[in-house]
């Protein structure tokens, strides 16, 4: 048999699996960057406390910091594996490609995670229980270890968009996949972002400072940190755009919503304004305001970034060789990986999928809609939800009342040939094209209700046929028994 590495599909009709991943990822970046930002700030304060022998600063860390640190740290450390789990169910081959190339890099990152976890509890629990110098050292190690985890993950994330060097395709090798122009720019960008967060989150912390002179001093420092890192980050983003594949830019230009650029500019301007205000008038910094601003600025900055990253990678999900719909669409001689497209062209998707149920391996009149749904789930649902809502719902792309012939023609002419840059090439046999078109039209015109009804009637028919066959077998068997007698 000719099977390729395709898993079952998870379909979440309301928001779609893609948004579930994005939601968890955004929450994770928010929580983890906040905790790293808070920790860096504490390292600084702890250092100052040690240098100037100031009890009040350590008390301050204890009073305001712990709560913040613990909550964001807990959420960050669970949503970290959470991203993993969610991409596992949304895109098993995407995460599988990353895991199999970078397992040791992740394992290395894990060493730093362990250091972080132990470190964070020590920072929290040992205030006042160890001397200031030791506390400072622990804080510094925590800050550095956190940055190290970022260094590692950024290499992996940028591989998702594009392997470090073109050479990776030919020669393979972890280093070629990991390091590249893209990696370093992203690193700068994310580090800048981390400092912006530090500055924003720092606002929450220093809002609690009673001594006006010290509060002013800290507001100044954080303000400058925030302004510089925001500007550097924005410049890095411009540079980043020059280093991504042309394909991605094309998708960006054509496909991102119109409000995307203006909203980015608005977020930038708002962030800068916020820092300037807090520098000039530190008394405006109260915890509620600072906390609300932190969430607003971060979410407004993060969500578009996550969306852009999701769109720009299309049609690929990892390393420019695994399609979003889990099919390997390109040879990678360096890793001895073969494109799965030739096989799909030969036998079609239904025969190549290990999880195709027996009764759907051949399309016929009695299973057309089920087969069509199976194909749509496999090939399309990662990028287009077949439901009303969710990611790029399929029904939006076909006009109301479209005919099955037109859809079939489109599928065959455009999708099976891979003629559209942002969609994968999706080979199908003629009968599969037929089934998919029948399903798409039904879904388009009658929605999920019509699809469910059609499938139920297909199944009822199948069961009836099966019962009849069983009955006639029995009759035959009876005849046989009679004859023997």
């Amino acid at each position: 048999m000719d099977l390729i590495s395709l898993y079952p599909t998870w379909y979440e009709p309301t928001v779609g699996s893609g948004w579930v991943v994005a939601l968890i990822a955004t929450f994770h970046v928010l929580a983890s960057h906040t905790s790293v930002g808070a920790a860096l700030l504490f390292a600084y304060l702890s250092h100052k406390a040690y240098r100037e022998d100031r009890e009040d600063l350590l008390d301050f860390i204890k009073k305001y910091g712990l709560f913040l640190l613990v909550f964001t740290y807990v959420a960050g450390s669970i949503t970290g594996p959470g991203i993993w789990y969610s991409t596992t169910v949304a895109s098993p081959n995407g995460i599988g490609a990353l895991i199999h190339s970078f397992v040791w890099k992740w394992a290395t990152e894990w060493v730093f995670f362990v250091i972080e976890v132990v470190g964070v509890y020590m920072i929290v629990y040992l205030v006042g229980k160890v001397d200031k110098r030791t506390h400072m050292k622990i804080s510094v190690i925590f800050g550095l270890a956190s940055w190290a985890t970022m260094l590692i993950i950024v290499g992996i994330l940028s591989f998702m968009m594009l392997p470090g060097k073109e050479q990776w395709f030919a020669d393979g090798g972890y280093l070629n996949g990991f390091y590249g122009t893209n990696t370093f720019i992203q690193l700068g960008m994310r580090t800048a972002f981390m400092f912006t967060i530090t500055a924003v989150v720092g606002g929450i912390v220093i809002a609690g400072i009673k001594d006006p002179a010290f509060k002013k001093e800290m507001a100044r420092k954080l303000g400058w940190l925030g302004i510089i890192s925001t500007i550097v980050g924005a410049l890095m983003f411009q540079w980043y755009l020059t280093a991504v594949p042309e394909q991605a830019l094309l998708v960006m230009e054509n496909r991102l919503p119109d409000y995307f650029m203006p909203s980015i500019v608005a977020v930038l301007a708002g962030t800068l304004a916020y820092f300037i205000i807090t520098m000039i008038r530190p008394q405006t910094l109260v915890q509620g305001f600072a906390g609300a601003m932190a969430v607003i600025i971060l979410v407004a900055g993060l969500w578009p970034e996550e969306t852009a990253r999701e769109s720009m990678r299309k049609p690929w999900v990892a390393g420019q060789y695994v399609y979003s719909n889990q099919v390997i669409g390109r040879d990678v001689p360096g890793m001895d990986i073969k494109s799965q497209l030739p096989l799909l062209e030969k036998v079609g998707i239904l025969k190549a999928h290990p999880f195709t149920p027996e009764h759907l391996r051949e399309v016929n009149e009695g299973n057309k809609i089920q087969a069509g749904e199976f194909i749509a789930m496999t090939y399309c649902s990662n990028c287009h939800s077949p439901s009303e809502t969710g990611i790029r719902p399929l029904h939006r792309y076909f006009p109301e009342g479209v005919s099955q012939e037109r859809v079939a023609k489109y599928v065959k002419g455009v999708l099976t040939t891979g003629n559209i840059a942002y969609m994968p090439k999706m080979p199908m046999t003629d009968s599969e094209v037929d089934a998919l078109a029948a399903y798409l039209v039904l879904n388009n015109n009658g929605g999920q209700a019509a699809v469910t009804a059609a499938i139920d009637s297909e199944i009822a028919q199948r069961d009836r046929a099966l019962a009849e066959k069983n009955a006639s077998d029995k009759v035959a068997a009876l005849d046989f028994v009679q004859e023997v007698k």
Partner: protein
């Protein structure tokens, strides 16, 4: 099942393997997976058991139990974090070697996989809620407020553990995967069900919380008894409870282990009566025996051995558990992880082991020394010159690691 059905399952599992291969010998991943799983489950058990004590203490009208409950809450909080962070390692390794199985199992129960994350966060926050509601109160014998939150926390943690268990169990039934993908004759893309579990196996892993937490109590007495302000009556009482828990708990766990072995699927062949099947149970009952013999009275040395012993026993069980998986998947279904395609990558393999040994080793020794010493000191702990040097060394080692990251990176980039 006949031979051709088995052959179909075998073919499917092999087809699902990631074509990128793996960067070093498969046995290394299995070994690390077993080791880190043993650590993961140890901290899971510690966290469940200490949470249970906190809860019990909160509802008992007994000053010692109350104090013990408050003290164990500190351990529970840290243990969750440690269990989670250590859990990441076997999570990584299982999907390197058993990716066909792990991914299928996860996707088929996707809603639960997502729920796992949400429930875990809620469980952890509930625990912290209880903590923050009560930590300000210096009188640790008072009736704690918001006891419900601790109850919720423990209950949710058990749900999380059950999800883990079910995902692991589904791995062992490749013959049912395609059936699970269909419900009532129709394809089911929703991932809203957990399809397999073995209640005895789950109960066994959870029940090990009793002896493991007993070991924690014995250690707790030993550790705190050197402090100048130690309350020896209270500590001795706690240690006696601990000894009882080790002995009784190990017996309970052994019974559950036997039930697990009795209820193994047919595909496991005669694993239950094989050497590793028996050894797992023997190790667990052996713990009760060890406690009976070695934990008499003060047991100044062996009290510190109680937790390491629990880890060793957990390791034996973890090995049995892994061999069971191999026996089913290879023995019956002919999926052999040893023949995974290797695309050797020495650099990243080496970098991991060096980082693990040097960075992990040095920094964690520094951290743990400080934690240990300060826990035994009344007032402020000021380390001596040696420990201080270790701290400076730790910082420099992390800095050096970061420098090598960039040096290697720029070199590769410039090539």
């Amino acid at each position: 099942m006949d031979a051709s059905q088995v052959a179909q399952v075998t073919e499917m599992m092999y087809a699902l393997r990631n074509p990128a291969g793996i960067p070093t010998f498969p046995i290394i991943f299995i070994g690390l997976g077993v080791l880190t799983f043993a650590l993961h489950i140890l901290f899971v058990q510690l966290m469940l058991g200490t949470s249970a004590i906190t809860l019990y203490g909160a509802f008992r009208e007994n000053a010692y139990w109350r104090r013990l409950g408050a003290a164990m809450l500190e351990i529970a909080k840290v243990s969750v974090s440690v269990a989670v962070v250590i859990g990441v390692a076997p999570l990584l390794f299982v999907q390197v070697i058993y990716d066909p199985h792990w991914y299928t199992s996860n996707v088929l129960s996707a809603d639960w996989v997502i729920a796992f994350i949400v429930i875990l966060i809620l469980a952890y926050w509930a625990m912290y809620y209880f903590y923050f509601r009560n930590s300000k109160n210096a009188d640790k014998t008072a009736v704690p407020s918001s006891r419900w939150s601790m109850l919720i926390s423990l209950a949710l943690m058990l749900v999380v553990g059950f999800i883990m268990h079910s995902l692991t169990s589904q791995i062992l039934h490749p013959e049912l995967w395609k059936e699970w993908y269909m419900q009532n004759g129709k394809l089911d893309y929703s991932g809203d069900q957990l399809h397999a579990f073995n209640i005895w196996r789950y109960a066994f892993f959870i029940s090990m919380s009793i002896p493991v937490t007993g070991a924690m109590l014995v250690t707790y007495r030993r550790f705190k008894s050197v402090r100048e302000d130690a309350d020896h009556d209270y500590l001795n009482w706690a240690a006696e409870v601990g000894k009882k828990w080790i002995k009784v708990g190990s017996v309970i766990a052994t019974v559950l282990y036997v039930m697990w072995m009795v209820t193994l699927p047919e595909t496991a062949g005669n694993f239950a009566t094989s050497i590793w099947g028996i050894l797992g149970g023997v190790a667990v009952i052996g713990y009760a025996l060890w406690a009976q013999l070695r934990l008499r009275g003060e047991a100044r040395f062996c009290s510190y051995m109680a937790l390491p012993m629990a880890l060793v026993i957990g390791l034996v069980v973890a090995i049995s558990r892994e061999i069971l998986r191999y026996d089913i998947l290879n023995g019956f279904f002919h999926y052999d992880f040893f023949d995974y395609k290797i695309v050797m990558d020495w650099y990243s393999t080496g970098l991991f082991f060096l980082t693990f040994a040097i960075v992990g080793g040095v920094v964690l020794s520094y951290f743990l020394t400080i934690a240990w010493k300060s826990g035994q000191t009344v007032g402020v702990y000021t380390p001596g010159a040696g420990v201080n040097k270790l701290g400076t060394l730790s910082i420099w080692i992390v800095v050096l690691w970061i420098i090598q990251f960039f040096v290697v990176g720029f070199y590769v980039w410039a090539q």
